[in-house]
């Protein structure tokens, strides 16, 4: 099946007082229609910046310095903001983490919902209102007519996130990027929102990029998973592959860090050490200083991506050792859990 979104060797950098710093360091991935790709990784690894790069919504000091982003047949990198604007909210949409602040407090829900329809579909106010009622019904709002005249502060967080989803999907985009859309919500609401996104995905046949650092959410929504670390993709594979046979020590660490619901006191940040900052000069693998398996080669040479299967790729020297017949990774999983839980 043809790719809907194809990102190749994307580099995004920021102009800062310390010079140009790369937040995304040459990542490649793709998403098909009706597929959910989860991007996971610790805070600051570049998940949001990757999403914003696709949308063309980078902060003013950020820029894409290399690479290609193709949506369908269109190359997005290099397009003017005005051209990208015609894609945003239309062919691709994004929803954000904070439903409490993501809606404009001084305009009615109706105004904000009609906006994309009027901009992209040239609807009259009346047509847009009718469509807005449809949309609100679709995202599970029970009295949509009433809600059109309400303001965001009159709605709960879950309701607002439903409205956000409705707004994002109003023009039936082919790609939805959801950046931690449920992190700010409580658990029952979270489950409802995940269901909603999943249902609408199959209904509309869109591709979804779902950013999260919650492995529980990944298990629930992902078809494929991409693990990011310090601006790079360290592992990608189907959700089954990643959970049953994680190839990268970092992925294993993330999986070991999944909270056990029966044990509320356990420490969640059990990968020792912390991620390098953007201006740290690192030779070799960017994870080696935290990696319990780090070998000499890891400190010297950047690992390439090793293909583990037709769908799984791992950027780790251990995979090379593996290919030579010595099996370190299969026993690694248990071992790392032991190390990490000490």
């Amino acid at each position: 099946m043809e790719q809907l979104l194809q990102v190749d060797n994307l580099v995004t950098q920021f102009r800062t007082a310390k010079g140009k710093l790369k937040a995304v360091r040459g990542i490649s991935f793709s998403v098909k229609a009706e597929e959910t790709l989860c991007i996971v990784g610790e805070s600051g690894c570049g998940k949001s910046i990757t999403s914003l790069s696709i949308m063309g919504l980078l902060p003013s000091n950020g820029e894409i310095s290399q690479g290609s982003i193709r949506l369908g047949n269109e190359e997005l990198v290099g397009k003017s903001d005005e051209r990208l604007r015609e894609f945003r909210g239309n062919k691709m949409s994004m929803i954000f983490q904070e439903p409490m602040t993501a809606l404009n407090p001084v305009f009615t829900i109706g105004f904000q919902l009609r906006e994309p329809l009027r901009i992209h579909k040239n609807m009259t106010k009346k047509e847009a209102t009718a469509k807005s009622i449809d949309i609100l019904t679709k995202v599970g709002i029970s009295s949509p007519e009433k809600m059109l005249n309400q303001y965001p502060h009159e709605l709960s967080g879950g309701m607002r996130q439903r409205v956000m989803i409705g707004m994002a999907l109003a023009c039936e985009p082919s790609l939805l990027i959801a950046d931690e859309p449920t992190t700010a919500l409580d658990v029952t609401i979270q489950a409802q929102i995940l269901d909603l996104i999943d249902t609408l995905k199959s209904e509309m046949g869109m591709g979804v990029v779902f950013v999260t650092h919650d492995m529980g959410v990944v298990a629930e929504v992902a078809d494929r998973v991409m693990v990011m670390y310090a601006g790079e993709v360290v592992e990608v594979g189907t959700v089954d592959e990643l959970f049953s046979n994680p190839g990268h020590p970092y992925t294993k660490g993330l999986l070991a860090a999944v909270p056990n619901v029966d044990d509320v006191d356990q420490d969640l940040s059990i990968i020792p050490g912390s991620m390098p900052s953007l201006d740290d000069q690192i030779t070799g693998c960017r994870f080696h200083s935290r990696c319990p398996y780090a070998m000499d080669v890891c400190k010297e040479k950047t690992p390439p991506s090793f293909k583990v299967s037709g769908t799984q790729e791992v950027k780790c020297w251990l995979q090379e050792v593996d290919n030579n017949g010595k099996s370190t990774t299969s026993s690694g999983s248990g071992e790392i859990k032991e190390i990490l839980s000490n």
Binding site: E82, R88, F96, E98, N104, P105, H120, Y151, M167, A168
Partner: protein
Amino acid sequence: MIGLIVRRFIQLLLLLLGISFLVFMSMHLAPGDPATVIGGPTATASDLEAIRKDLGLDRPVLVQYVDYLGGILHGDFGYSFQTNQSVSDAIITRFPNTLKLATASMVVAVIIGIIAGILSAMKQNSWIDISSTTFALAGVSIPNFWLGTMLILIFAVNLQWLPVGGLSSPIYTIEGMKQLILPAITLGTASAALIARMCRSAMLEVIKSDYIRTARAKGVKQKSVIWIHALRNAMIPVVTVIGINFGGLLGGTIITEQVFAINGVGRLMIDAIAARDFPVVQGTVLLVAAIFVIVNLIVDIIYAFIDPRISYD
């Protein structure tokens, strides 16, 4: 909304009561006797005594105050010691000039301030931003009387484009508009500067917010993002500044009216203070206080229109 207006009205009455008491007492306790001003240098002690008796100033101060309040209840604000004109008439003939001046200055200040603020926020650190922030700094530091005098020198005396002073022609005539330009700039500059500054920082703050990112993610045009999504939110703190600033603007009318020889309430008040014309001082001070409260009520009402989260019920 009705509740707010009623509350504010009661507040206004209490405020006016307090102010009238303070002004009354301070006028009577401060040195300077109206009788000597009216009688002139040749008046004898018995002349002065007669004048005081005539004006009712020989009675105890509190009795005079209660008497004054009683008059107000009947719409009688007393009579000028100097001209014997009723205080309400004296104010009513001058108030239109002051109102014209204050309104024109505020309009100038709001338009220039908001446009300058937005442009400099949008083009941060560009020459527009630098000149507008410099203007804002200069605007608040330059004293009114100096700015007024300079404007008169340049545009009235040297270039002779505009009249030197006065505000007697009706506003809808060319002459009336011309008379208003220099005083409005003089009085409005400081407020424009404050509004520009507030508007700039409010815009910079709002532009960073999540809902602006949402608007852009929806594909809203850059122009609408700024002039619709951002501006309305940025106006909330700006309106506060405008409201607070209006008090300063009213104070500024006094000086501006002097500089441009405008026969307004400010000049009436200054002349009355100099002449110890108690009833006129009282009347003008109460008027200014009332305007201040009413303007703040208007600001609160505007608030509720801009920001749906504000409810006064």
